[in-house]
């Protein structure tokens, strides 16, 4: 690696941190056409085939079956508004390589922030120790790039978006929140953007590169009435171009946040106990993610610790229910051109008309089950090894209308907004927090409710979804973070309005 390529990184890094980019040559052209996306790490850091071959050989030096290199260069920026002014900025430059050696189901992992040959070889040496024999030294040949689509094209790299343009977006949202309701007393706004470039090089011949953008504009609104205070938050974004932030999108953000804060003055806690629950469309997909999705991640099943590990091919839901985990939807937070093992992004049917048809796989679990990887191998950063993770998880629409679903419930709970879901993988028991909802009385939506927890059991809940309507909506935020094994990755989710026959609603009344 030459000093020149390292120097040019310095400019990119510093500029990225500052959101004022002096772009490397070759990226000055507008947009990120595919030809400009490839060769980034070779151009900027001197990562060529010879070096990759050398590092992979070291990683396999003690007899590992398989090894891969994951290079990452990410520029993250956040602008924050408090008390009416965009008066703080946070920036972050992340650069490094993660090196993994796999032996059977076992993983050796090392990483380095320094992309010199010596530092990478040292990390590869650590990874290699998962095996303890002699180097198989399989000759490493040429590499092929997988077939890729671009599901999140940019007309401008985020580094090219002037800080002033971002600042105006946050300021506009702030001013519009105050204008929308006289009850608003405080507004906290922020805009986040993350431009991550990755390169995956594997010992079995894959070399894949991607530019994965993520942005969101978020706002939290505090309102006050008769000495009582309430707060609500919302965000909109995804893997999107900055052109996404139109006046209409900003208006939707403001309306959602302000109206949700103000309605809470009318809200109360519902009675505790078991009752039918109607999940409204969109963000309630978190429930699908928590209650059902995690248990279908293949690592938990390979280790036989998931409640779903004996259910493949079995009926797990009514025929109305089809559940998809999908990297191919454009611009959502969980959309991917490739996963972090270089497998092309794809659409995976988890439950097909009620039958459990597939788990979500990374390379290790796919080999274990003798199936093709599904492109679910993801990681938080080069400092972490890959695990099977969800992308955009949703249920296909069904034949009912939302009105029919609500009308079918004499007394129950309608859920509009949820947060903080969690599941015990082995039992499938889950809990999640309802921040906005309504009581259903006599088949009609009545009083608003808030601050209540819903508990259930994933397989039981899945089996008790009896109505699915035609209004599938995907969550349009960019801030959906899923945590597993200490790693956070961004995910998307969605749901049509559905009826769950019975769930436990927490409350403070006996």
């Amino acid at each position: 690696m030459s000093l020149m390529t390292r120097r040019s990184f310095m400019k990119t890094a510093a500029a990225g941190a500052a959101a004022l980019t002096v772009l490397p040559r070759g990226l000055r052209a507008a947009g990120a056409a595919p030809e400009l996306m490839t060769g980034y790490f070779e151009r900027e850091f001197g990562i060529d085939d010879t070096l990759c071959r050398q590092v992979l050989a070291r990683a396999l030096g003690k007899g590992g079956d398989y090894a891969d290199l994951y290079f990452e260069h990410a520029l993250n920026n956040r602008l924050v508004l408090e008390d009416g002014k965009v008066n703080r900025a946070y920036g972050e430059v992340l650069l490094g390589v993660g090196i993994r050696t796999v032996k059977g189901d076992q993983i050796g992992y090392g990483f380095s922030q320094d992309l010199t040959a010596a530092a990478m070889l040292a990390a590869a040496e650590v990874a290699s120790t998962i095996a303890s024999g002699r180097g198989a030294a399989a000759p490493l040949g040429g590499w092929a790039a997988p077939k890729m689509s671009d599901r999140y094209p940019l007309t401008r790299l985020y580094g090219k978006v002037p800080l002033e343009e971002k600042r105006r977006l946050v300021q506009t949202v702030n001013d519009a929140c105050f204008a929308r309701s006289p009850l608003v007393t405080k507004v906290n706004g922020s805009i986040y953007d993350e431009q991550k470039r990755i390169l995956v090089v594997t010992s079995d011949g894959t070399k894949a590169e991607d530019l994965q953008p993520l942005t969101y504009l978020g706002v939290s609104v505090t309102a006050e009435r008769n000495g009582k205070r309430e707060r609500a938050s919302w965000n909109l974004g995804g893997r999107r171009d900055f052109a996404y932030y139109t006046p209409e999108v900003l208006d939707e953000l403001v309306r959602t946040a302000v109206d949700r804060a103000v309605i809470l003055f009318e809200a109360r806690q519902p009675p505790a106990g078991e009752m039918p629950v109607v999940l409204g469309p969109g963000i309630t997909g978190i429930l699908l993610h928590e209650a059902i999705g995690h248990g279908m991640e293949a690592d938990f099943n390979r280790k036989k610790v998931s409640t779903y590990c004996t259910m493949l091919g079995r009926k797990v839901a009514e025929p109305e229910v089809t559940i998809i985990d999908d990297a191919t939807e454009p611009n959502l937070a969980g959309s991917l051109n490739i996963d972090d093992e270089g497998t092309p992004g794809q659409r995976t049917v988890l439950v097909d008309r009620g039958i459990l048809t597939s788990y979500m796989h990374d390379n290790i679990s796919a080999r274990h089950y003798g199936v093709a990887p599904t492109g679910n191998g993801r990681r938080e950063s080069y400092q972490h090894y890959v695990l099977p993770r969800m992308r955009n998880t949703y249920m296909l629409p069904g034949p009912a209308t939302p009105e029919e679903v609500i009308r079918s419930v004499p007394r129950g709970l309608y859920i509009e907004d949820v947060s903080n879901g969690q599941v015990s993988i082995g039992q499938g028991d889950f809990a999640f927090y309802v921040s906005q909802g309504r009581l259903i009385e006599g088949g009609r939506l009545t009083a608003p409710v808030k601050d209540v927890n819903i508990m259930g059991n994933g397989p039981k809940m899945l089996a008790s979804i009896t109505m699915v309507s035609n209004d599938l909506a995907m969550y349009q935020g960019g801030a959906g973070q899923c945590g597993k094994g200490g790693q956070g990755v961004t995910v998307g989710f969605g749901l049509p309005t559905v009826l769950v026959k019975s769930m436990t609603v927490g409350g403070s009344k006996a």
Binding site: K11, K85, E92, Q106, T129, K186, Y433, S435, N453, G507
Partner: protein, 440 residues
């Protein structure tokens, strides 16, 4: 203090001042960690690496930004610094944004916090393999025939940081951490495969309990989950086990921060000097616990650490006010965040308390849920067991408790004598009376 890191921090400060910063603060961190895990008698993962990074905060004409980079070579740093300042200039003015008045830096306690153990380097990878394996085997021996899978681990980490400010603050820390634990999946009725775990985490290697004890406790905690079910909604005394108390306490402490007060997002606004909890509840912020994960000599602003009475026999005595929010609120700063939080322990064990309570619920874990710092309303799922006359009678799951923090903490009936030692939250088990535990 590491000389090389100190020099680099000093040079970065000089660069920032030359580039136009009125004031600046630099922190440089380095760390190294090794993690080994076993699953069912076989190595599952080996991970080892080191990181380093530099945080730069700049103040230019009352404008502020904070930037991070992992590229620490001086030539590269210079460009990073120049761009950080250029960005800051484009922000809006915030007259409250300055470094603290340096007189607030004075008075650091001359205490050895015992946060760094030289045994970090002498604990070999082979020994770590042995610990991880032994923990797993002990867990399996105790778990018996229902065991499906056991994952056990041993990890160690070391970190060092140096912090300097342009108005005279200097500080450095070196910390070590050793941890070991296991999680065990068991076959229960039908498709239920409950998984319990236990992890110990300490600053000094000698304090790590024997592998056999860690494994056996992890297994017992898993066995205790067998047969769990939802039972009918009832108002009962609830004992929240020591390790789970921080989850509840977090909702109370979040409302004590200057940011939530100034942003009107705190249910504790205007409550200083008033009773917010039962007189049996006393909460102390103690930065001087030897080996405590929150122990420190100075805080994020550089203020010398002090022991603070936060809640004294139920009365709210203090807030967490950083320099910045002290200026916004027009009050004296305290400290921007908690160090070690200690709930004053009582005299009886959980077993004794269970015996004297008659019927009740012992909460072992929380699941999901949330706490609203603006209103104080919280709701959270629970896993644990019903007990009668001191004996566990029925493990429970899929149940919930919901309350307002002010109501919940006013119902503290007793605090047990068992502070949790593996966290900066030194919380004993806490008994709450008259809690609605909702289920069927």
């Amino acid at each position: 203090m590491n000389r090389e890191m100190f020099d680099l921090a000093f040079q970065t400060l000089e660069m920032a001042k030359t580039a136009g910063a009125d004031q600046c603060r630099v922190a440089i961190n380095r760390d190294r960690s090794v993690e080994i895990s076993y699953r069912d008698h076989q190595v599952e993962t080996i991970k080892e690496a080191g990181t380093r990074g530099l945080f730069l905060e700049v103040f230019v004409n009352n404008r502020y930004s904070s930037q991070y980079t992992s590229d620490l070579r001086p030539a590269e740093l210079k460009g990073f610094v120049v761009q950080a300042i250029a960005t800051t200039r484009l922000l809006e003015e915030d007259p409250f944004r300055t470094l603290p008045d340096p007189r607030y830096y004075e008075g650091r306690a001359p205490v050895d916090l015992k946060r760094s153990d030289p045994a970090f380097s002498s604990l070999s990878t082979e020994q770590m393999h042995e610990i991880a394996r032994d923990v797993g085997e002990a867990a399996q021996a105790k778990a018996g025939p229902r065991m499906i899978s056991v994952t056990s681990s041993c990890a160690k980490s070391w970190s060092e940081n140096v912090r300097l400010s342009s108005n005279g603050f200097e500080g450095g820390e070196e910390n070590t951490c050793f941890s070991s634990g296991a999680s065990i999946s068991l076959q229960d009725e039908g498709d239920r495969r409950p998984c319990g775990d236990h992890f110990a985490e300490v600053s000094t290697r000698a304090e790590l309990p024997p592998a056999e004890a860690i494994g056996a406790e992890a297994a017992q905690r898993s066995l205790d989950l067998l047969g769990a079910k939802k039972v009918k909604t009832e108002t009962l005394p609830v004992i929240v086990e020591n390790r789970s108390v921080p989850r509840l306490l977090g909702g109370l402490v979040a409302a004590m921060s200057g940011a939530s007060l100034q942003q009107k997002q705190s249910f504790l606004m205007g409550k200083k000097g008033q009773a917010i909890a039962s007189e049996r509840f006393t909460l102390v912020d103690d930065p001087f616990i030897p080996g405590g994960f929150g122990s420190r000599l100075f805080d994020g602003d550089g203020f010398p650490a002090r022991r603070r009475m936060m809640v004294d026999a139920g009365v709210l005595r203090d807030y967490y006010i950083s320099w910045y929010y002290s200026r916004k609120l027009g009050c004296e700063p305290t400290s921007g965040g908690a160090s070690n939080l200690v709930i004053a322990p009582g005299s009886r064990s959980v077993a004794e308390i269970m015996k004297s309570l008659g019927r009740g619920v012992l909460v072992r874990e929380f699941i999901g849920g949330n706490s609203n710092s603006t209103t104080g309303d919280m709701s959270v799922g629970i896993v644990g067991t019903l007990f009668a006359n001191g004996v566990p009678t029925q493990p429970i799951a899929e149940m919930n408790i919901a309350a307002n923090h002010l109501q919940l903490w006013s119902r503290v009936a007793e605090v047990a004598n068992d502070p949790w030692l593996y966290s900066s939250r030194r919380t004993p088990s806490v008994v709450f009376r008259d809690v609605v535990v909702s289920g069927i």
